[in-house]
């Protein structure tokens, strides 16, 4: 990010109301060195407090209970085991996601990262253990109820309804979370960030290019910012230049109070963004801590880096 960003083909400027504060200093030449701000050990709800001009953050953030102890993490996994049919993919996974943080979930293929994401969003039910959202136990709750509690999950791969139009994709999401009255405004917000989507509002989403589909799935979650956003391989199949912008978008929404769980193959990018890192291997947590304490362990824990 040391050089000025050229206009990206296809990827329109993100959230316009992003505070221009330079959160991330110019990237040092060695990418391994974590450059994220010091890990916030304390949740940072105050960062979320100032409502942005469009006023769209207020609803979800206001829903966060202040809680008696400020240190309660937004999401807690407590000895969670899970699997598919006979297969067990996760073994006693425990970690916590502090409020307002970005947590990178790293590990080799098949380590169970996607399963963790699915467990957090309710797509896969744990066979053992418990999950908490703040103080509330959410173990066993179906995905659609968790979405209403503010956990959004942008799954791996194509995550748009290919047979619906762009606008229908957006409306489906907005109507369920904001009701019929709030949906048009959210639609407008989504279009104002991604004008490309407005151009293609009546196009069938399956005919969009890969980058546009990613745009659409981001627009779906962003126009009504959740408390917790889980993104799984958001940059898969995107050109490097667009990957950068995706990460900037994530950084911006984090600064607006949205807690993030990020699964990424671009480990360096994820480390730049994340405050904390959880590394999985073969279904178990092998590292859980602040990014800047990771040091050169990362090279040992994630082969090939």
């Amino acid at each position: 990010m040391s050089q000025p960003m050229p206009p990206a083909p296809g990827w329109q400027p993100q959230i316009p109301m992003a505070p221009p504060e330079p959160q991330i200093p110019p990237a040092p030449p060695v990418p391994q060195v974590p450059i994220a701000p010091p890990a916030p050990q304390v949740p940072m709800p105050q960062q979320a407090a100032p409502a942005d001009p469009a006023g769209y953050v207020t609803a979800p953030v206001a829903a966060v209970q202040p809680g008696p102890e400020p240190a309660v993490p937004l999401l807690t996994l407590d000895y969670v085991s899970a699997g598919y049919g006979q297969f067990r993919a996760l073994f006693d996974v425990s970690f916590a996601v502090p409020m307002g943080c970005a947590v990178a979930l790293l590990g080799p293929n098949g380590a169970g990262k996607t399963t963790v994401a699915r467990v957090c969003s309710g797509l896969v039910q744990p066979t053992n253990g418990a999950i908490y959202l703040g103080h509330q136990e959410i173990t066993g709750m179906p995905a659609h109820e968790l979405r209403r509690l503010g956990i959004a999950h942008a799954p791996e791969g194509r995550s748009v309804f290919a047979s619906l139009t762009v606008e229908e994709n957006l409306l489906l999401e907005f109507r369920s979370s904001l009701g019929k009255t709030g949906a048009p405004a959210a639609l407008e917000r989504a279009y104002s960030w991604f004008p490309r989507l407005r151009e293609r509002r009546n196009q069938i989403a399956g005919t969009l290019s890969g980058g546009e589909q990613r745009m659409l799935s981001l627009a779906r979650v962003l126009a009504d910012l959740p408390r917790l956003l889980i993104v799984d391989e958001l940059s898969l199949g995107l050109a490097p230049i667009i990957v950068d912008e995706v990460f900037e978008t994530l950084d911006t929404i984090r600064s607006q109070g949205c807690t993030l769980v990020v699964i990424e193959q671009h480990v360096n990018k994820a480390l730049e963004l994340a405050d904390r890192v959880v590394i999985l291997q073969k279904g178990r947590v092998v590292y859980d801590g602040p990014t800047d304490e990771l040091g050169d362990l990362v090279g040992q824990l994630i082969p090939g880096l």
Partner: protein, 252 residues
């Protein structure tokens, strides 16, 4: 004569031009890369080259023959191998069976009569050929494992091995590193290099992973907005300022 020759391909969907007068050649035994931003038309070009889409203008020749009206299995018989970005493995079959089927398909075996007189069981030679490819790809230990239980990286290698066993003249690979982690990507790169070196197969690689591209390809095409932005030896192309601005961004 180039092995694969595409001459001024144009393709539009409705009013949107996806490709505008694109040329592309692959010489025998060459390792060529094709990169470009999302929506630049890579997939469209790839499908035009394979004859899956019919270009509005221009033609595609493979070994001097027009591909566009040829069904996929006929193209394979002509020596055009390919892998898929979304896996197309034969679920339920072992790795060895994948290789056996490909091998038999190439040798045009498959008659009902042969099966009835008991020629269906794999011979020692067929096994040896399967094992040789298994070794080339580093899949020796996994030969008898059902493909469904392989990791994505291994499954991609199986697809590659399956294509290699049909002894193609040209392999067309659609984002083989997609979904692979670093280790797997580098392993894929190594295997591709040895396939090209040991079997003399030409390879056309569509890929986002620039590290892999710069490692394996000797020549590179860069596509942007449906037009060919640059072509030439890989290092020079990747270093070119225009390419860097359009595609690479700040990542070297």
């Amino acid at each position: 004569m180039p092995l694969l020759a595409a001459e001024s391909i144009s393709k539009h969907f409705g009013g949107i031009a996806a490709l505008v007068g694109v040329d592309l050649n692959v010489e025998p035994g060459e390792f060529v890369g094709l990169v470009g931003p999302n929506g630049a038309g890579k997939t469209t070009l790839f499908n035009c080259l394979l004859g899956i889409l019919k270009p509005n203008r221009g033609r595609v020749f493979f070994r001097g023959r027009d591909l566009s009206r040829m069904p996929m299995h006929a193209r394979a018989r002509l020596g055009l191998g390919r892998t898929f970005q979304r896996l197309e493995v034969f679920s339920g079959m072992t790795v060895r069976d994948h290789f056996l089927v490909a091998d038999r398909s190439r040798r045009k075996k498959g008659g009902l009569f042969g099966d009835l007189v008991g020629q269906g069981t794999p011979t020692r030679r067929e096994d040896a050929r399967a094992e040789a490819v298994g070794e080339l790809l580093g899949l020796t230990e996994l030969l008898d494992v059902p493909v469904d239980s392989l990791s994505l990286g291994h499954a991609r290698l199986v697809e590659l091995g399956r294509a290699v066993l049909t002894e193609p003249k040209l392999l067309m690979l659609d984002e083989p590193s997609s979904g692979l982690d670093r280790v797997e990507t580098m392993e894929m790169a190594r295997v591709l290099q040895s396939v090209q070196a040991e079997r003399g197969t030409a390879i056309l690689l569509v890929e986002h992973d620039l590290e892999m591209v710069s490692l394996v390809t000797s020549r590179l095409y860069v596509l942007e907005f449906g037009e060919m932005l640059a072509t030439g030896p890989t290092p020079q192309v990747l270093a070119h300022p225009v390419v860097r601005r359009a595609y690479v961004g700040d990542v070297a």
